[in-house]
Amino acid sequence: MSKYEYIPEPALVKGNHSFSSITKLVTDVNLRPTPKPWYAAMLLANAFLGVFLVAVAYLIWEGTGIWGLMNPVGWGWAIINFVWWVGIGHAGTLISAILFLFRQDWRTAINRFAEAMTIFAVICALMFPGIHVGRIWVIYWVFPIPNQMAMWPNFNSPLLWDVFAVSTYFTVSLLFWYVGLVPDLATLRDKAKDKVRKIAYGIAALGWTGSGRNWWNYEKAYMILAGLATPLVLSVHTIVSFDFAVSMIPGWHTTIFPPYFVAGAVFSGFAMVLTLMIICRKIYGMEDIMTDDHMEKMNIIILVTGSMVGFAYMMEFFIAWYSGVEYEKAIFMLRATGPYAWAYWIMMLCNVISPQVFWSKKLRRNVNFTFFISIVVNIGMWFERFVITVTSLANDYLPSSWDYFSPTIWDVLTYVGTFGIFFTLFLAFLRFLPMIAIAEIKAVMPQADPHNYDEETQEYHPHEVVVPKPQAETV
């Protein structure tokens, strides 16, 4: 009839769920006995955590000399991993805050999950600036608290802005996450059978009752937090980009860095959320809530942000040529053809080319393929930070000091070890906290809207969309 097919909005929750079946679906994960595979996974995560602890202990004992740092590359894997983890963290806040402001109700299926990922990723990220100073016991010097050196932090330093940005980001994300959790913790408190859980969830829920007066302030607070977190999340990776961009190093000093870093962060963050979501919804049987439609929407965001990153790569290259500055031109030529060309092309392939496959609707909805691409993207984003950090330093203004950077085993172990932190925390989260925002998902179900009830009988009467017949053939 028509040349084009109208695709109606998919329902947010699949299956025939009631409020109580949603509660049961989500809280059962936390309340039933711990499954054996969970212990196995936790053990594995703890092993990696152990690797991290050993690597850090040795680092503190021996100093940063155990890493592959050298002249001229004095900033190696620590900064790369820091930026990578912080970037991953961005998706959680983006989903919970920005999509909330844009009234994207589909976010409710994944926001809890993504926020948890944010917090754990930021914890992993914070490890690196913490340990890279070498003398971790004087790390309190970075905070503006009085000390007997009569010394204050340097507020002109982008590294100090980082301290404020990342710690604020961590704190606000944690608060945001916790505020979202309170009603669900109350649900768990009321569902729990044994004493220990009752007390633990009871304390954490702060005595939440679901009072209308409380919800009223609560919604206001949530809205304000979303409004605060939105510029905050943009500011964090912007300030991380300032670490590089306020300097004069060719390849670092370029004005597009702030939005480009933010786009890259969202890009890698969504990829990580997808990786985790695809595994978890399978294991825990949450396919009714985390549907393929969610996956498709996230894949579109990956496509968009991947293209934005590609746009920035192009602008950098073009302007480097256009600027007429020899050093800028040289560094970009060296990136593409020099000693690190392999890393550059991995980055290009993973970040710019690979997400372009999501132009295909079929691939956007293919679970296995999405899983594959989500991992590819995260590899690509790691290499992006590698390319930025290492190439610009290894080949800077003075060719006589050019050198080739290689990591040591301790660089690798420290990085691999952070996965231990991440998965230990994440597994604990899955086990003990509701992985889906129960109250929020209920609120976006059609049954929750009083307008979907009949005025007289107060019976549920969902609104149905009727696609009209075209009046005439499309011209």
Partner: protein, 401 residues
Amino acid sequence: MSHKPTITDSLQFSADSKIPQVLLGVGVVGLILSAIGYFTNTDQFFFSYLVSFTFFTGIALASVFMVMFHHITKSKWGVVVRRIPEVFGSNIWIWAIFIIPVILGIHNLYHWSHEDAVAADKILKGKSAYLNTPFFIIRQVIYFAIWGFVGHKLYKASVDLEKTGDWGITSLMRKVSAPAIPIFGLSIAFASFDWLMSLDPHWFSTMFGVYFFAISFQSFWAIMILMVFFLQRNGYLKNTIGQSHIYDLGAWLFAFTVFYAYIAFSQFLLIYYANLPEETLWFYHRLEGGYQYIAYGLLLFRFALPFLVLLNREQKHKRSVLAFVAIVVVTIHFLELHWIVKPALHPEEAHGLSFSWMDFSTFIGLGGIFFWLFFNRFKQNSMIPENDPKLDECLEKTYHH
């Protein structure tokens, strides 16, 4: 939701309204006056013209962007106001004729277009593969071909949907919008390099395309607010565009105020901080000789005032407040373009902030034509995209607030 909302307004812009004629008259007078300026002070004419041209072109481009985002995100909040940007976008292919004076004035505007100057300048020689007159013209043709096509295509799809009631057309809109967004992104960035950045041909900033996008988009929302108020003052769509829709426009203006501040500040900070001579000169010229007052004005009136006023929910509901902020933003947008463009005129002489009557005559002239084109098309069809699948939800959202 059981009852379908009914539209009580007339959706047809009056065919015998005098508004288009008046606008056409104003536009023609403005352009004729400007033409006189061309003979009295040619350089001044072209610089003034460029400011006005980028002003209105930026609005039209932002309009198409807004429509594309609307389709891509399947938004429902703005269906009732969507026809306005659709019509702005639909005229880009006609608007393309106004790039011709910029091309004609290329030697007055752009230092790099002088071959002797390029030959004497090592840096310009390096850029000459991009910055040369024939390629400049080719690029303008490509830009306007893309923009004109997409803008008109999306308008036509919307009208088709209105006429036929075929919801399947929404899929077409999405299919056009999705690839057009990255193409628009690139073309707008390069257009901003061509029109504005290359006025100072030694200067460069990777962010400049995003910056031009940000300033244009912010003032686009202000124009939208003013357009809606203008229509409602003339008795149109009074009940169709409700308080909540106007609130949403205010919220978007607020959001893009923050976005603008973010982009503009980042660009400034990075250049200020590294303090490299090849970059800071641009800001140096724009922070002296009176131009610093516009720069401070940007901080105060383009960011601080709209931000502080619109922070409060209540204020975004007040029509007088919104109108005031919108007028301030539009004015400061004009001043910001002036601030970008004018210091490049006579860069070698001691220069200072000055306004010529041509700044205003070109603005009025191009503005008159721009809005004449708008109303001319606006009256041909319904003022809102009727039969849009999301229209009912959009109309109903008054109760959400």
